[in-house]
């Protein structure tokens, strides 16, 4: 299984790295792992590439890995969620939320989407929106 993920975010490497370390933008899951994170300028003013190399985490062998993958709680999927949310926060100022995925990008949601119809008050609260 690949243990690498990357995203490109508009902004200089210095600025992106500063935001990465700031409170409001911190990618919580990645921070909680031993992942190696590196920043490098993308060619042609495309911004900054963030590369995450996730050390293989003991996950209970192949069956365990498959179970994690099915539930969306596989480490690499969670790393990608963090990267997409970080990019969106930095570039747009918000975490994009839909009716199907009100929490924003969330691997666990992929398998159990809400219907794409507006949320009631209690659901909104649960989704943190």
């Amino acid at each position: 299984m690949s243990s690498k993920a990357a995203v490109t975010v508009l902004g200089s490497a210095g600025e992106i790295q500063r935001r990465w370390e700031e409170g409001g933008y911190r990618p919580d899951y990645i921070e909680s792992t031993d992942a190696a994170v590196s920043f490098k300028p993308a060619p042609g003013d495309r911004g900054t590439e963030i590369h995450v190399d996730l050390e293989r985490i003991a996950s209970g062998g192949r069956l365990g890995e498959m179970a994690l993958k099915a539930s969306g709680r596989e480490p690499l999927a969670r790393v990608k969620d963090d990267l997409r949310r970080f990019k969106a926060r930095v570039e747009t100022g918000v975490i994009p939320r839909s009716d199907g995925s009100p929490e924003g990008e969330l691997a666990e949601r992929k398998a159990k989407q809400r219907p794409a119809q507006p949320l009631g008050a209690s659901e909104l609260e649960r989704a943190g929106a």
């Binding site: 508009l10 100022g93 994009p96 939320r97 839909s98 995925s101 990008e105 989407q113 119809q117």
Partner: protein, 392 residues
């Protein structure tokens, strides 16, 4: 509020759902005054687009009045009358900065799902499956519009809803299809499909200066509209003769059109006997998701060195793709969901200046509650249906 929801293949129904609320600072809530059924909604209705969920609010062509807005929406005021583009775009990412709004990198919160299917995610779209975000659509009384500071265009009161509603999708989409053809004046353009998008592709090619525009369809009433309203110079009615490629050669002195627009997509109705039958079976068995007669014939008909512009919607995989003709004839294949936000001001001005009145496609007007009838009428082309407008 009342909304038209998807409830399974060939089934939509009016349901009462919660009213939408502001979820982000850049959201606005729009009270919908007019909304429409799009040809691409039929792909959802017919069950050819994966990741639909029972209860999904449909609709990506809508307009109305801003009734609430988040703190980050500085360009709109409560009470403004707006048309909302179908792709949701953040306006901040690299793609949006390059006017590739339908490729927005941030507006799809199900990006991981789209990446698995397409390699990359593209923009979120209202009411168009969970692959494009899982956003509630606009066949409803109200809609939440994310990134409302980027998408919606304000429209003046002296224009009717029907004159401006189609800025949301089909007018820019048809225009985009013609724009991809790089028309400079004097060209011959063939348009597969004389549905609503095809009508606007014809009208746009004429606006851009094409000398001959050939509309292709199997319904005479649609071809009549293409000639009388959109400005087509010639027609090919394939209900009379299914060999479209030969007829296009005949009409162009053997050269073939300079550019061909596929405004049909994955549910092409024409095709040659055995291949068409085989594709219907493969599609029904979900071995192949897309029927490709229009695209195949577009490639075979286009003159060497010409452009094939694909604005009809495809969703998955296609068999028997004529790669040899594409390569050896040196064709350019250009395609995409329309970058609506790029074209809005230009097209609004065309309407404002009286150069086009997009309401010519409207054949049916219904109350929102009759949406299920509207889908059936549109799907089966009953009563010479071209476009259904719903009023909440």
């Amino acid at each position: 509020m009342r909304a038209n929801v998807w409830s399974g293949r060939n089934q939509v129904e009016i349901e009462t759902v919660p009213d939408p609320t502001i979820l982000n600072d850049r959201d606005a809530i729009v009270k919908i005054t007019s909304t429409a059924i799009c040809g691409s909604d039929l792909h959802l209705y017919d069950g050819y687009v994966p990741t639909m969920k029972k209860g999904d609010v449909l609709g990506h062509e809508f307009m109305g009045e801003v009734v609430e807005k988040g703190r980050g929406v500085g360009n709109l005021e409560v009470g403004d009358r707006v048309v909302v583009p179908f792709p949701i775009a953040c306006g901040n990412c690299w793609a949006c900065n390059h006017e590739l709004y339908a490729a927005c990198e941030n507006s799809n919160p199900n990006a991981g799902m789209a990446e698995k299917m397409f390699g990359h995610s593209t923009a979120g779209i209202f009411g168009y499956s969970h692959l494009t975000g899982g956003y509630a659509g606009g066949q409803a009384e109200y809609a939440r519009v994310p990134f409302a500071d980027i998408g919606p265009i304000k429209v003046e009161d002296d224009l009717s809803d029907e004159e401006v509603l189609f800025l949301s999708d089909i007018f820019p989409t048809g225009y985009f299809g013609a724009d991809l053809c790089e028309i400079e004046g004097g060209e011959t353009i063939a348009v597969f499909g004389a549905g609503p998008v095809g009508q606007f592709a014809v009208a746009s090619a004429v606006l851009m200066g094409a000398e001959r525009v050939i509309a292709i369809d199997q319904y005479d009433y649609r071809l009549q509209m293409a000639v009388n309203k959109a400005g087509a110079t010639d027609v090919v009615d394939f209900s009379m003769d299914p060999d479209i490629v030969e007829q296009l050669k005949e009409l162009t002195g053997g050269r073939g059109p300079d550019a061909v627009i596929d405004a049909v997509g994955m549910e092409a109705a024409h095709g040659h006997g055995a291949l068409h039958a085989a594709e219907r079976v493969r599609q029904a068995a979900r071995l192949e998701t897309d029927r490709g007669h229009a695209l195949r014939d577009a490639i075979l008909a286009c003159r060497p060195g010409g452009i094939v512009s694909v604005i009809g919607v495809y969703g998955g995989l296609l068999d028997k793709f004529p790669a040899g003709a594409l390569m050896n004839k040196g064709l350019q294949l250009r395609t995409g969901q329309c970058h609506v936000q790029k074209y809005l001001k230009r097209l609004y001005k065309h309407i404002r200046d009286g150069e086009i009145d997009p309401s010519f496609v409207v054949t049916h007007r219904m109350e929102l509650g009759r949406a299920p009838d509207g889908y059936e009428t549109f799907k089966h082309k009953q009563d010479e249906c071209v476009k259904v407008v719903l009023k909440p």
